[in-house]
C-alpha cells in the first residue's frame, strides 16, 4: 500500500512539473507498448507467463489467403469486393484490414492477400471455414494463419534428435494417502478463498493443509483418483498437487474455458468453452479440447457450432449437456463417446479417432450411458411413428458394436438408466402412459449384466401410481433404494437383487412409510444410507442401516443443500452453499449420524472430498480383515482413547488458561476502579454511596405506638 501511495505522490509531482491537469487525463485510454512494462511489475504473474496474449498489434488476427486469381489493376476492386463479401460473413474485418499486394513490375496482383480480423478467434474460424473454398475451378483458396508462416519458416532443414531431458524425480503425488492418521482431505471454496483441509474426526476439527485466495476463477475439481486438483482460469485449466504444498503441475491452455472433466483414470482432461458468435443469428461456437493430463498435450480438439454438440433425438433439446464426452471401457480410459443426432460417436484413445472410422448409427437415440466397468453402452431410443415402432433399450458391446441385449418397451414417455457401480446390474426406470395417456406410471426393468443371456426382470411398485422421486444403487452391492409416493411424505423402499437362496430374483426388503426425504446417499462402502430431505424439506437427515434395517439416527442440518460421503464411508459432510445467504457452511457427521463439528463460512460455494484410488487389497484379503476386525481395531480403539483423553486434557487446560487470563483482567479493573473511587464520588457531588456492587440490606425496626388503654382488672 505504501508503495502505491508513494507512486501516486510522485505522479502528482511529475504532472505538476509538466503542467498537466491529471483529472483531465483518461487513464483507461492510455495504451502501453506491448512487451514494455516500464519497470512496473505486474501483480498478475500469470499474464506474463501466458504466451497467447492478445495484443492489438500482433499478427494472431491475420490470415493469408492464397490461390487468388491474378488480376490486372482494373479488376482490383471487383476482386476485393468478392473477398470482402466472403470474409466479412465470418467476422468483422478491421478497418484497412484487407490488403492485396501488387507486383510493381506488372501492375498485377500477386494472387494472395492478407486479412486482419478483430480477434484471433475470428481469424481461426475464417481459416477453418474457407480453407479449400472453391472460387472457381482453378482457384481453390489456401488459407493460413500469418503466424504459422513465421513458425514454419523457422523449422530447421535438418532433423535434430530431440534433447533428452535428464530425469528429475517429481514429488510423491500420492502423499496424502499415507497420512499417519489415515485422514481424508477435502477442499472448500468460500468467498475468494480456496482451502484444502484434513478432516480430523478425532480432534473434531479440520486441520488446514493449504490455502490460497483467488485460486480459481470459477470452480475447482478433484481428479477422479484424487491425484490432482483442477482449477479453471480465463486462459485455461491447471492441475495442482504434490506432497506437502499444492504446486502447479501442468497447465492446459484453452481461452475462456468454462467446464472441465477428467477421464475416470485421470489420464485425460476434457475442456469446454463456448464463444459468442459475431453474428447473433449463428449458434455459439463450441471448442472442446482433450488433453493428456501428464504431458499437457492436446490429443484431439473438437470445434463446431453449439448445435452440433446438442443432444440428439427428437426431443429437440437445446444447449449442450455436460459432460459432452462420456468415458467408458473400464480401467484404461479406452473409449469416450458422445451423442449426436441419430448417432453415437465412440472414439478410442489410442489414435483418438472414431472406432472403425464411423459413428454408431442409431435413429433418434435419446440417451446413452457406459457401464462403469465394461465397454458396454446402454442406449435408449424413444417410441417412433406414434407408437408403431416401440421404444427400446439396448446394450451394445464396444468395439465390436454388437448388440448384446435389447428390450422393446411400449407406451413409454421417458426412460432413465442407472448402472450399479460394479457394472453388475442396470436398472432402467420406465415411465409409461396410462391407457388414457393422461398420466404416467413408473416401473423398472432390471438387467443382470453378468449372467448368461442377460436376463431382464420387471419390477413394479406395489402402488403403481406412485411417483418415483429418487433411485440409488448400493455401491458395490446388490441392493437399491427408491423414494416413491407423493410429497410431502413419500415412502422409501429397499430392494435386493437376491432373495434368500435364490440369487436370481428381486425381492423387497422393507418399506419405510412417510419419510421426509427427496434424495438418497449411499455410503461408498454400502450398507449405510442417508435419506435426506433437502431444499423443500429444510435438511432432514435420517441415517439408516440397511443390513439391520434400522434407523441409526435422525438429525437435521437446517437448509442443507449438499451431502457428500467421504471416500472411505466413515464421515459425511452436509453443506449449505450460497444458493441462499443464510446459514452458509458445512457440518461433518460420523457415518452413524453423530454431529462431529460444524463450520460456518459466508459465501460458501463448494465442498469436495478428495477421492481415493481403489484399494490394492484383494477381495480375499479384505474379507480376512473384515473377519478379524476385532484384532485390528484394538490398536485404533486405544489410539482413539488416547486422543480423546488428550483432547479433554487440552480442553481443561485451555479453559483454565482462559479463566486465569480473565481473572487477571478483572483484578486489574477492580484495582483501577478502586483507585478512581474518590474521583467518582467527587463527580457525584460527594455522594458517598459508591457501593455500586455491594448492596447492604439493613433491617430497620420501627416501633409505633398505636394505642394505649388502661384497664383495671379486679383480682379475686
Amino acid at each position: 500500500m505504501a508503495d502505491v501511495m508513494m507512486m501516486t505522490d510522485s505522479i502528482d509531482a511529475k504532472a505538476a512539473q509538466l503542467g498537466i491537469d491529471l483529472s483531465s487525463v483518461d487513464f483507461d485510454s492510455i495504451r502501453l507498448p506491448p512487451g514494455d512494462d516500464f519497470g512496473i511489475k505486474s501483480d498478475d504473474e500469470d499474464i506474463y507467463q501466458e504466451e497467447n496474449l492478445e495484443f492489438d498489434s500482433g499478427f494472431g488476427n491475420t490470415i493469408v489467403v492464397d490461390n487468388l486469381p491474378v488480376v490486372p489493376r482494373e479488376k482490383f476492386e471487383k476482386l476485393e469486393g468478392v473477398i470482402r463479401k466472403i470474409y466479412s460473413q465470418i467476422g468483422v474485418i478491421k478497418e484497412d484490414g484487407l490488403w492485396m499486394p501488387v507486383d510493381s513490375d506488372t501492375g498485377k496482383s500477386l494472387g494472395y492477400c492478407f486479412i486482419e480480423y478483430n480477434t484471433p478467434q475470428e481469424a481461426e474460424l475464417a481459416k477453418e471455414k474457407t480453407h479449400g473454398y472453391k472460387l472457381d475451378r482453378s482457384h481453390i483458396f489456401a488459407v493460413n494463419m500469418f503466424d504459422d508462416f513465421d513458425r514454419f519458416m523457422k523449422v530447421p532443414d535438418e532433423w535434430a534428435p530431440p534433447e533428452t531431458k535428464p530425469y528429475t524425480p517429481g514429488e510423491n503425488l500420492q502423499q496424502w494417502l499415507i497420512d499417519a492418521k489415515a485422514r481424508d482431505q477435502f477442499v472448500i471454496r468460500a468467498g475468494s478463498d480456496t482451502e484444502v483441509l484434513w478432516n480430523d474426526g478425532r480432534q473434531l476439527k479440520p486441520d488446514p493443509v493449504y490455502k490460497r485466495a483467488f485460486w480459481t476463477e470459477s470452480y475447482v475439481q478433484w481428479s477422479p483418483l484424487g491425484t490432482y486438483l483442477a482449477t479453471v482460469h480465463r486462459q485455461g485449466a491447471a492441475v495442482w498437487g504434490g506432497a506437502t504444498t499444492f504446486n502447479r503441475l501442468m497447465r492446459y491452455a484453452h481461452p475462456q474455458v468454462k467446464l472441465i472433466d477428467f477421464s475416470p483414470r485421470e489420464k485425460y482432461l476434457v475442456t469446454y468453452s463456448s464463444h459468442e458468435p459475431s453474428n447473433p443469428r449463428d449458434a455459439n461456437r463450441v471448442v472442446i479440447n482433450v488433453f493428456d493430463v501428464r504431458t499437457g498435450k492436446v490429443m484431439r480438439d473438437f470445434k463446431g457450432s453449439a448445435d452440433d454438440f446438442a443432444i440428439g433425438g427428437t426431443g429437440g433439446v437445446t444447449g449442450v449437456s455436460w459432460p459432452v464426452f462420456r468415458w467408458g471401457g473400464g480401467k484404461d480410459d479406452k473409449y469416450f463417446a458422445r451423442i449426436g443426432k441419430n448417432i453415437i460417436s465412440v472414439y478410442e484413445t489410442e489414435t483418438f479417432s472414431l472406432i472403425d472410422k464411423k459413428s454408431l448409427k442409431v435413429e433418434n437415440v435419446m440417451d446413452f450411458c457406459w457401464s462403469p466397468t465394461d465397454p458396454i453402452l446402454a442406449l435408449f431410443v424413444p417410441e417412433l411413428g406414434g407408437g408403431n415402432q416401440p421404444a427400446r433399450v439396448s446394450l451394445v458391446q464396444i468395439p465390436s458394436k454388437e448388440e448384446l441385449r435389447q428390450k422393446n418397451l411400449f407406451s413409454v414417455s421417458d426412460c432413465k438408466m442407472y448402472w450399479q457401480s460394479n457394472g453388475d446390474y442396470l436398472a432402467v426406470k420406465v415411465d409409461r402412459y396410462t391407457k388414457t395417456k393422461k398420466s404416467t406410471y413408473t416401473g423398472f426393468e432390471l438387467f443382470r449384466i453378468k449372467e448368461r443371456d442377460i436376463p431382464i426382470e420387471v419390477l413394479e411398485l406395489e402402488n403403481k401410481n406412485d411417483k418415483i422421486i429418487a433411485f440409488a444403487w448400493e455401491p458395490k452391492g446388490h441392493r437399491f433404494a427408491v423414494i416413491h409416493g407423493d410429497n410431502p411424505k413419500p415412502d422409501v423402499s429397499f430392494y435386493s437383487m437376491r432373495s434368500g437362496q435364490n440369487t436370481g430374483r428381486v425381492s423387497k426388503l422393507t418399506t419405510l412409510k412417510g419419510k421426509q426425504a427427496n434424495a438418497l446417499f449411499w455410503s461408498p462402502t454400502g450398507r449405510f444410507i442417508i435419506l435426506a430431505g433437502l431444499k423443500g424439506f429444510n435438511g432432514q437427515l435420517e441415517f439408516y442401516n440397511v443390513d439391520e434395517l434400522e434407523t441409526m439416527a435422525t438429525a437435521e442440518h437446517f437448509m442443507a443443500t449438499d451431502i457428500e460421503w467421504d471416500p472411505t464411508g466413515r464421515y459425511v459432510a452436509t453443506a449449505v452453499t450460497s444458493v441462499h445467504e443464510m446459514e452458509n457452511g458445512f457440518n461433518i457427521w460420523s457415518f452413524n449420524g453423530k454431529l462431529l463439528y460444524r463450520i460456518l463460512k459466508d459465501h460458501f460455494f463448494q465442498f469436495l472430498w478428495r477421492p481415493r484410488p481403489p484399494s490394492f487389497l484383494t477381495p480375499e484379503k479384505e474379507e480376512e480383515i473384515a473377519k478379524n476386525l476385532k484384532k485390528y481395531s484394538k490398536k485404533y480403539e486405544a489410539e482413539d482413547q488416547d486422543v480423546s483423553l488428550l483432547l479433554s486434557e487440552q480442553d481443561r487446560e485451555k479453559r483454565r488458561m482462559l479463566k486465569e487470563e480473565w481473572e487477571k483482567w478483572v483484578n486489574q479493573w477492580r484495582q483501577l476502579h478502586e483507585d478512581e473511587k474518590l474521583e467518582r464520588q467527587k463527580l457525584r457531588d460527594g455522594e458517598a454511596s459508591d457501593e455500586e456492587e455491594e448492596y447492604e440490606a439493613k433491617e430497620i425496626e420501627v416501633e409505633e405506638l398505636l394505642d394505649v388503654s388502661e384497664e383495671v382488672l379486679s383480682f379475686d
Binding site: 437446517f558 443464510m582 479493573w669 483501577l672 478512581e676 467518582r680 456492587e693
Partner: protein
C-alpha cells in the same frame, strides 16, 4: 419461567434500559412514545409524550429522576421520570440517536446522524441540576467519523467518550478536547456496522455487537480486544449479565430480508454465551422478528428483550439458570 409479554408499542422496539434500582424498565420504539414499565411484573406505568419521530435511545439518571431520549424528530428531550413532564428539548439539525448520562449525571452525550450535508456528530451537553436553568449550548461537539454513530457512551470518570457505528470502528475520544485518542484495529475489529454497545456494571469493559455476526468484548481504558463471540446471524443487540459471566446477543435476519420460508431461518433467538470461554450456552426463543434491544436487570435475575415485532419480553430466570455449568 414464562416470559411476560409487554405489548405497549405499535412499532419495532429500538432500545431498553433499566434504572439503577432495577425496578423500572424504560423502552423506546419507532412509535413516538417512550414507555416506562414495572420491571417486576411488566405493568405499564406510563409514557412520555412529546416526540414526533422514532425514539432511538434513552438513559435514566442514577436517582431515577430524569430520563433523556434521542429521537429522529431531531431533538433529544429531558423528562421528569415520575410525572412524565417534558423538562427540556435539545434541538438539532439532524436526527438524534444515542444518548448517555455521565457519571454524576451532570453531562450528557448525544449523537446526531448524518443528514443532508451534515456529517454525524457527537454533542456533549451540560445537564443543569434545576431544569429551569437548562441551556441548549453544547460543551463540546465532535465531528469526524463517516456514517451514523449508533452508540456513544462515557468512559471511566467521564474522561472519554466511546463511540461506535456504521463504519465498524470503535473510537475513544477525549471528552475535554474532543481529540481522537484510540481507534479499534481494522484487522481484529468488526467488519460491518456496529449496532449495539453495552458497558459492564463497573464500566471497565464493554461489549459491541455488529452485523458481521459477531460481538466483541473490549477494555474500556485501553481499547484492547479481549473476547469475540461468533454467532450465525447479524447482531442487533447485546447485554452482559451483572451477576454471572454471561453475555446475551440478540439479532436475526434483517427485517427487510425476512423470508417466509421458515421461522427458524431468521434465528430470532437471544443467545447466551459464556463470557470467558466464548462458548454458546443456550438460547431464548420467542420473538417473531429480529431482536433490536436487550437489557439486563441490574440484579442479574431477569432480562428483557425488545423485537422488531413490537413486543418487549420480560424473562425472569429459573433457579436452574444460576447453576449452569459448562
Amino acid at each position: 419461567m414464562r416470559p411476560i409479554l409487554m405489548k405497549g408499542h405499535e412499532r419495532p422496539l429500538t432500545f431498553l434500559k433499566y434504572n439503577r434500582d432495577g425496578d423500572l424498565l424504560f423502552s423506546c420504539a419507532k412509535d413516538h412514545n417512550p414507555t416506562v414499565w414495572f420491571a417486576d411484573n411488566g405493568e405499564r406505568l406510563g409514557t412520555y409524550r412529546g416526540h414526533n419521530g422514532a425514539v432511538w435511545c434513552c438513559d435514566v439518571s442514577r436517582d431515577s429522576m430524569r430520563l433523556i431520549t434521542g429521537s429522529a424528530d431531531q431533538t433529544a428531550k429531558l423528562w421528569n421520570v415520575e410525572t412524565g413532564q417534558q423538562l427540556y428539548s435539545f434541538n438539532f439539525d439532524s436526527p438524534a440517536r444515542a444518548v448517555d448520562f455521565s457519571v454524576g449525571d451532570k453531562l450528557a452525550v448525544i449523537t446526531t446522524d448524518p443528514f443532508m450535508e451534515l456529517t454525524s456528530a457527537i454533542h456533549v451537553k451540560r445537564i443543569a441540576g434545576d431544569p429551569s436553568d437548562q441551556v441548549g449550548e453544547s460543551v463540546l461537539v465532535i465531528r469526524g467519523p463517516h456514517g451514523r454513530i449508533n452508540r456513544a457512551v462515557w468512559g471511566p470518570l467521564n474522561m472519554t467518550i466511546i463511540s461506535a457505528g456504521e463504519d465498524a470502528v470503535v473510537r475513544i475520544w477525549d471528552s475535554e478536547t474532543g481529540k481522537l485518542l484510540k481507534e479499534s484495529d481494522k484487522e481484529s475489529g468488526h467488519k460491518k456496522t456496529i449496532t449495539a454497545l453495552s458497558k459492564s456494571a463497573d464500566g471497565s469493559h464493554f461489549l459491541t455487537g455488529s452485523l458481521d455476526k459477531s460481538a466483541k468484548l473490549w477494555d474500556t481504558r485501553t481499547l484492547t480486544l479481549i473476547k469475540t463471540y461468533v454467532t450465525e446471524r447479524p447482531v442487533n443487540a447485546v447485554a452482559m449479565s451483572p451477576l454471572l459471566n454471561h453475555v446475551v446477543l440478540g439479532g436475526g435476519q434483517d427485517a427487510s430480508a425476512v423470508t417466509t420460508t421458515d421461522h427458524r431461518a431468521g434465528k430470532f433467538e437471544a443467545k447466551f454465551f459464556d463470557k470467558i470461554l466464548q462458548e454458546e450456552i443456550g438460547g431464548v426463543k420467542g420473538h417473531f422478528g429480529p431482536i433490536n434491544a436487550l437489557a439486563f436487570n441490574p440484579d442479574g435475575k431477569s432480562f428483557s428483550s425488545g423485537g422488531e415485532d413490537g413486543y418487549v419480553r420480560l424473562h425472569h430466570f429459573d433457579p436452574d439458570y444460576f447453576n449452569i455449568k459448562i
